[in-house]
Subunit: 290 residues, 2 copies
């Protein structure tokens, strides 16, 4: 039910929503097989209380997860949650530790809450497959860069040590009191063109595999001007993982919508959400079962 | 900057936003003292990279936190974040472990990300002071009850073992295939009146200190009918901590707005967010320094 409103509110397509009931016939195994082949479905997201035939799910998931991300939220992670699940379905919720191990070895990504479930769905669906794991942060404000750095590390991402020649190029656009490193901090007094110039530079560089772009609202760089500039640069070049975190007044919400309509995942206010989206995609690539 | 848009978008009042710059004169100590006394301010929320005079902040916070919640987000929690902070302000970010210990002993609530920072602000600002720690979940769907139970436990909340006489009363309203426990699961086929009857019962019971109400959209209980019923019951009785988690199509967003306009914190889609709001308030009460 939550998926209905969330997906509509967040402009995500949904090919099917299936409630499994008491699984007297069809269960997770059948659906992973079916949607693994369905051309209209690019990722599978499971909300699970208990599973019966773990081995069958494991085998199906191993095959499918190579082509399509599979994400799972395990409900009944606590004793109290398991008790509630037992009253709900009459069956025991599966041990969360067992499910973690089973899913981990099958390439299924497990998340701990609905918010992360939704953000991960968006990231997995919208972000193109990265060619490596080196992440670079570009920020329009130092404090935002600190929060984005923390979020990258806490999500297990690798921050690129930017090569000197890349920084030398970036120096042409960044004012002397900015910071050339990771983050690249262009500082808050810059027009949209500075975001565009630095973004173009790092999108073009093959040593940068994914970009987290932090926007900070100022009079000289209004949200929609920034967003249009980003979309322009992004559409000129081959697609690469890019997420945008916007901080500012409510106008940033329209700018985020515009970015997403043009294929770039964007979040407002909470910087760690943009990073979670990227992390889901990078984890999916890392965790492919052999 | 993020606070600007978030607070406007979430109908929260802001008495002041202050950027401390390089703190050559005024620092956190002065502001905790000042806003501790300011009658137009009911809570303080700090975004901190580094602190200089920990002892002064500790003393001020101990005094103020008894009357007003103080919440803090420590940026620069990772080595990479600390490095970014150092380029940003030219000063070293404070060790996060030291800050955790210092703040913990002063009654300041520390949170790990912006999303939780915002949800905690809303919970602390809107929820009345609870008279105890026993939480009861009432849900319109079993699966939602499982997720809410998990979130309560993972947030360190206590789930009330409901007294038999309370459950006997609830039995008059809940269908036989529902569940009488914690959660109380009224099941998905019930009209708004069932939510109202059960809510009135638990709001009146002094052994229930806080309520998490889970709503599940159905044809028989449309979101706005549900919300109006909840506001009606809530306004008849003395104020008590109540948070609402709504699952359904986009119409639940309007229902959540209506609940919040009437003083009841409400979140859509991600059940754990409603629980985080309540958890912030309960933690504030628990952690008062002697």
């Amino acid at each position: 039910m939550a998926m209905l409103g969330y997906s509509r509110s967040n402009r995500l397509g949904v090919s099917a929503i299936i409630g499994l009931g008491n699984k007297s016939d069809i269960d997770e195994y059948d659906l992973i097989e079916y949607f693994g082949r369905d051309e209209g479905t690019s990722l599978l997201a499971l909300h699970i209380e208990g599973i019966r035939d773990g081995r069958a799910i494991l085998e199906a998931a191993k095959r499918v997860a190579k082509k399509k991300p599979i994400l799972a939220l395990k409900a009944g992670r606590t004793l109290e949650g398991m008790k509630a699940a037992s009253s709900h379905t009459g069956s025991l919720a599966s041990d969360p530790v067992m499910v973690d191990q089973l899913f981990g070895s099958s390439g299924i990504l497990l998340v701990q809450g609905m918010n992360l479930f939704f953000d991960s769905i968006k990231g997995l669906a919208m972000i193109p497959k990265p060619s490596g794991e080196e992440v670079l942060i570009v920020t329009g404000a130092g404090g935002l860069g600190v929060l984005l750095s923390d979020a990258c590390i806490q999500n297990g991402l690798r921050l690129l040590k930017p090569p000197q020649d890349l920084l030398d190029e970036a120096k042409k656009f960044v004012p002397p009191f900015g910071t050339l490193g990771n983050p690249i901090d262009i500082t808050g007094g810059q027009p949209p063109e500075t975001y565009e110039d630095v973004l173009r530079l790092v999108l073009k560089d093959d040593r940068v595999h994914a970009i987290v772009l932090g926007y900070w609202q100022t009079l000289i760089a209004p949200p929609m001007d920034f967003a249009k500039g980003v979309v322009k640069v992004f559409s000129e070049l081959p697609r690469k993982p890019l997420v945008v975190s916007l901080s500012g007044d409510v106008e940033v919400e329209k700018a985020a919508e515009y970015l997403e309509e043009n294929g770039i995942p964007a979040t407002c206010y909470a910087p760690e959400r943009a990073v979670s989206m990227l992390a889901a995609k990078l984890k999916w690539v890392q965790r492919q079962p052999c």
